[in-house]
């Protein structure tokens, strides 16, 4: 397990270094996902399986999806085809695939040998829950307050942008509405003639 620990650690450091040296944002995100998965393996080896699962689900799942979403919203559409053609070259996906393959090998090793012994004594989710809701309940309340503030803040920022954009596009949609109506009438008449 010690070799697994150091392997995952080296993997995390390498993936993070590659992530922050990439020029392209999506490549950096891919390396960052590999790094987060390596840190999750690290947590598992350290005897914290609950936190490892949370790391994969929330960090590598939710937060990275947010990042990818924003990067794709900011991306320029006219470059999309060239960029995609460039991504399919083997040199680009070989390194993260190799890193992820090492992680997969660790996972297969762990499940094949059924070696769930960790470096230190394992702390299960039950103990974590008991401690969380018994002696840290004020922290739970503060975290819920913080998440609520984050939700309201993000909604406020988003609503502001959407309202401004709608105000901007009102005249153009008014102009376009008559065109679509005439198109609809045209299509409807074509359909009835086909039916007849």
């Amino acid at each position: 397990m010690t070799t697994l620990f150091y392997l995952a650690g080296i993997l995390a450091v390498v993936a993070t270094l590659l992530a922050i040296t990439q020029r392209h944002a999506v490549h950096a995100l891919l390396y960052l996902i590999v790094s987060l998965l390596a840190v999750a393996v690290e947590f598992f080896v350290l005897g914290a399986p609950f936190v490892a699962a949370l790391e994969i689900m929330i960090y590598a799942g939710a937060i990275m999806v947010l990042f990818v979403f924003v990067v794709m919203m900011l991306n320029l559409a006219e470059h999309a085809m060239e960029v995609e053609r460039e991504w399919l070259k083997p040199g680009n996906w070989l390194v993260p695939a190799l890193l992820a393959l090492i992680l997969l090998g660790e996972l297969v090793y762990c499940t094949a040998t059924r070696n769930t012994l960790s470096l230190t004594s394992s702390v299960g989710p039950k103990q974590v829950g008991i401690t969380l809701f018994r002696s840290y309940w004020i922290g739970v309340e503060l975290a819920s307050l913080l998440l609520m503030a984050g939700l309201v803040g993000a909604f406020h920022l988003g609503r502001h942008a959407i309202a401004k954009e709608e105000e901007h596009h009102v005249t153009s949609t008014d102009a376009a509405r008559t065109d679509t109506r005439s198109d609809l009438v045209h299509v409807g008449s074509g359909g009835t003639s086909h039916a007849a």
Binding site: G9, A12, V13, T16, A19, I20, A25, A28, L29, L32, S35, L36, V39, E42, F43, L46, G47, A48, F50, V51, L54, E55, I58, Y59, A62, I63, L66, F67, V70, M73, L74, S118, L119, T120, S121, V123, Q127, V128, I130, T131, L132, Y136, G139, A143, L146, L147, A149, G150, L151, G153, A154, L157, G158, H160, A161, E165
Partner: protein, 85 residues
């Protein structure tokens, strides 16, 4: 173990939000490592709090990035220095 976590934190801030995520992750790793060193669940509880904080921070940060990009058509940090109000 903690040396590894410290290694993870020493990164420059190119993609600032991503690097903030990396640093929060490294501090969480340090917490979990310390908690598992003394076999206490407190470290994992602290990691849960860090996770909630990171989620809130990243939602606010990405909403701000979107708004800023829509307003300025630039993702440069220096372009934000003239922001007021």
């Amino acid at each position: 173990m903690l040396g590894l976590a410290g290694l993870l934190t020493r990164r420059n801030m190119i993609f600032t939000l991503m690097c903030i995520e990396i640093m929060l992750n490294a501090s969480g790793l340090a917490f979990v490592a310390a908690g598992s060193r003394w076999a206490q669940p407190d470290g994992q509880v602290m990691f849960l709090f860090i996770l909630a904080m990171a989620a809130a921070e990243v939602s606010i940060g990405l909403a701000f990035v979107l708004l800023f990009h829509k307003r300025q058509l630039a993702l440069d940090v220096d372009a934000a220095s003239e922001m007021r109000g």
